[in-house]
């Protein structure tokens, strides 16, 4: 009837318990789990959490950025070295929510705006398990159906150089609204030409994913109307948007290329 809360000093032990216990959910910031707990979700019998200091660690000074799963959006906003991610973190909820919402949690949110940016950064997920850590590319992780039992220990990625990360979130309500869709893009330029573009969407499929057709179409192109035309032509490839309470699949499909164009032409910085 009442829920059991188990707190572990070491994240690895929390991961172990999470893997074994049925009806267990891992609580980081609480914004997702506590809502279900308040609603007496019968799936939740045990809350597992960890006080491991490493779980809120930010390593951002070097070329390789590593953000622990328990890092909050507020912590990202407080870190000068992560300025390129500030527009993304600010797009998540209101100030109070950002003090709780974590990077790990965002990978499980249906419309992970932050996860979308991480995809565009080609991030790797580091999963904590009972038997130590496992690394895998973020888009593989997000592509998986069964993310439930996983515990995201950290995400890591190469700091973007030159061209900043581009991000746009489409929402009906300002400043804090649920995202209809969001687009993140990393567009490294070599003598004015895109090389190794990374473009990701949220809100266009069950989980955030990389728009690989767009990435390919941008390769070697310049970021002007003519240069991006092929990319816009394939903007919707692989998308499977749904009707939901805030927007229809039709509208999402219609406006995706518009916002992608504005982002690529530099009009869409968040």
């Amino acid at each position: 009837m009442s829920i059991t809360v188990k707190t572990f000093p070491r994240l690895v032990d929390a991961a172990g318990a999470l893997a074994q216990e049925r009806g267990a959910r891992f609580l980081a910031g609480g914004t997702l789990v506590m809502r279900d707990v308040n609603n007496a979700d019968p799936e939740i019998e045990t809350i597992i959490r960890s006080t491991d200091p490493s779980f809120s660690h930010i390593a951002a000074s070097s070329g390789r950025v590593e953000l622990a799963g328990g890092v909050t959006m507020a912590a990202v906003l407080a870190e000068r070295d992560l300025a390129f991610l500030h527009p993304v973190a600010r797009a998540v909820g209101g100030p109070a929510l950002r003090e709780a919402a974590t990077i790990g949690g965002n990978l499980f949110a249906g419309r992970g705006d932050f996860a979308t940016a991480l995809l565009a950064l080609d991030a790797t997920v580091i999963l904590a398990g009972g038997f130590g850590q496992r690394e895998l590319p973020l888009d593989d992780f997000l592509g998986r159906g069964d993310r439930g039992a996983a515990l995201v220990s950290a995400v890591a990625f190469k700091r973007p150089t030159g061209e900043a990360l581009r991000f746009t979130k489409v929402t009906r309500v300002h400043p804090k609204g649920l995202s209809v869709l969001s687009i993140a893009a990393q567009l490294p330029l070599a003598s004015g030409r895109v090389t190794g573009a990374r473009v990701a969407y949220a809100g266009m499929s069950p989980a955030p994913f990389r728009a690989k057709a767009v990435e390919r179409a941008l390769e070697g192109r310049s970021l002007d109307a003519a240069g991006i035309a092929p990319a816009l032509a394939v903007a919707s490839d692989g998308t499977s948007p749904a009707d939901d309470p805030i927007a229809s699949a039709w509208w999402r499909r219609e406006i995706l290329p518009v916002h992608l164009r504005r982002l690529l032409l530099g009009a869409g910085h968040a």
Binding site: M1, S2, N39, A40, P42
Partner: protein
């Protein structure tokens, strides 16, 4: 930015008052900013129990069986409340004013008629315990065909939603399936109209979304009475409804409320009090029944959807000579207050305009959705949306400025309304003039001079002026090509005189055009001279 135009209608007011008109601080403001205003849930009781409700997952279904045996033994559960426990399990809100038949159970008996309809309650030591027990109740249903569209619901063979009203429409005067409004002869007038506009409008349902959800706490008192702390918007409506459903003398109930976290109409329906009182009676303990946000959003009554068809007959000179309205209120599965809104809507047709031929049919329709209720502007908001979009289309159709088109047709003191009462205390024209001036919306001189007052305000301000719809003096008339010369603004008598003779709109042709306005009259033209750059006094 708010500013008063005390100069307008000043002659009708005595502004020599002490407290009235003062920006006095709200009596409740200190409580609000210190978090000490006592809302219903700000009362604490030892051993408070919590009521949670099992709701139908189907829009329309027969309940085959309910098994709550496991739930009844679940930890923390004090009592299961079933339909059979409700002393009077059929009610309609407006029964208190003898309007409509009892048609809604507090807990569904054999059939559920909308998704979210209450079926059974669990009273437990915590909300969590109650929710966990609800998850253990087993109900089997035979789904029934459902109808969700108001016009589909009126077609022959449509599923019947509400057994008290088998034809899916509320009954008016025991003889009609809708409310009528008949004035003049609209159909005859359409034949004479230069332009006829036939349009369809749809108002969406609206959730009141008060930040405090509906709720109440019923507390057994020392003397056999019950004290009920409630979020209701209508204290005695809720008290008398609760007394009826619980078959109790009303003086056994002591309702305390009055400080409410927003309502907007969504707290008129007495949705929690009858069952929290029943639960307190059955357990002998204080019981709270509080809507979750999800319940408030989806299962608390919304403003109902309204579909409205409007047909206008318009003359090239801007006069609207006929308006026909057909409107459908989506009442959901039960009546609640939509039946009343329908009459209010009919009374509001054709809007704040004098139209000699008006014809309306307004229906209260039952569908398999959450019952609708009152909301801010009840019966009028949707109609105003439809009417004012229609006015814009009318103006566009004849190439007239939309605001001048409204002023031209606006009702004035002494005009006859479609529900056969004389218009009094009108001020639509003045609102239009003042707003236009502020927004720099150009109005031609004659429209700036018009007035809502019978004699154009002349009697009130000494200076007569051309503020009626009598012909403007040739000099004053500088109508652009887009607007045909107003030969006469007077209204034609209805094509066929209405039943009650005095109700016929006064033929304007009988009125001689008043003399032109002298400069310096304090009401009318000079006030709007700022449009020409002169500063307003």
């Amino acid at each position: 930015m708010l500013e008063f135009r005390k100069d307008i209608f000043a002659d009708e007011r005595d502004d020599n008052l002490m407290e009235i008109g003062q920006p006095t601080q709200r009596q409740d403001m200190l409580g609000h900013v210190t978090g000490t205003s006592p809302y219903y849930d700000d009362h604490r009781f030892a051993n408070l129990l919590h009521l949670k409700i099992l709701r139908s997952p189907h829009a329309h279904a027969r309940i085959r069986s309910i098994d709550d045996s496991v739930a009844a033994r679940a930890p923390g559960v004090k009592r299961i409340i079933r339909a059979a426990d409700v002393p009077v399990n059929l009610n309609t809100l407006l029964g208190l004013i003898q309007f409509g038949k009892d048609d809604e159970p507090s807990l569904a008996t054999d059939i559920v008629r909308y998704k979210g309809e209450p079926i059974l309650g669990v009273v437990a030591t915590s909300e969590r315990a109650a929710l966990e027990a609800l998850a253990l109740v087993r109900v089997s249903y035979d789904p029934l065909p459902a109808v969700f569209d108001v016009e589909e619901a009126l077609k022959p063979g449509a599923p019947s939603v509400n057994p008290s009203y088998p034809k899916n429409t509320f009954e008016y005067y025991g003889k009609y399936d809708h409310q009528k409004l008949r004035y003049g002869d609209a159909d005859a007038a359409f034949a004479q109209a230069d332009v006829v506009l036939d349009e369809r409008y749809q108002m969406s349902p609206i959730e009141h979304a008060p930040t405090e959800t509906n709720g109440s706490i019923a507390v057994p008192d020392t003397n056999g009475r019950f004290i009920v702390y409630t979020s209701t918007q209508a204290l005695f409506f809720s008290l008398d409804t609760s007394a009826k459903i619980n078959a109790m003398p009303s003086n056994q109930l002591h309702f305390i409320g009055g400080t409410v976290g927003g309502g907007f109409g969504g707290k008129v329906d007495t949705m929690t009090e009858p069952l929290s009182i029943l639960a307190a009676r059955l357990t002998g303990a204080p019981v709270r029944y509080r809507f979750s946000r999800h319940e408030e959003m989806q299962f608390g009554s919304p403003r109902g959807g309204e579909r409205i068809y409007i047909k206008d007959g318009v003359m090239k000179d801007g006069r609207i000579i006929a308006r026909k309205v057909r409107a459908y209120f989506d009442s959901g599965a039960y009546t609640r207050l939509s039946s009343y809104a329908v009459v209010k809507c009919a009374a509001h047709i054709p809007g704040p305009y004098t139209i000699p031929n008006v014809h309306a049919d307004v229906f209260c329709v039952f569908t398999n959705r959450t019952p609708a209720t009152a909301m801010r502007g009840f019966g009028v908001t949707a109609l105003d949306f439809a009417l004012e979009c229609q006015m814009d289309k009318g103006a566009t159709a004849i190439g007239m400025d939309p605001l001048e088109y409204r002023i031209l047709n606006a009702y004035r003191d002494g005009d006859m309304k479609a529900h056969r009462r004389e218009a009094k205390n009108c001020a639509l024209i003045e609102c239009a003039q003042v707003a236009a001036e502020k927004a720099n919306w150009p109005l031609r001189d004659e429209f700036r001079k018009m007035s809502s007052r019978k004699d154009g305000g002349a009697a009130h301000v000494g200076g007569a002026a051309d503020r009626t719809r009598a012909p403007a003096s040739p000099a004053a008339t500088r109508a652009p090509a887009s607007t045909p010369q107003r030969v006469a603004y007077e209204r034609p008598a209805p094509a066929s005189p209405p039943r009650t003779a005095p109700a016929a709109p006064p033929p304007r042709s009988a009125q001689p055009p008043p003399p032109a306005a002298p400069a310096g009259s304090t009401h009318g033209a000079p006030r709007f001279s700022s449009v020409f750059g002169t500063r307003r006094r």
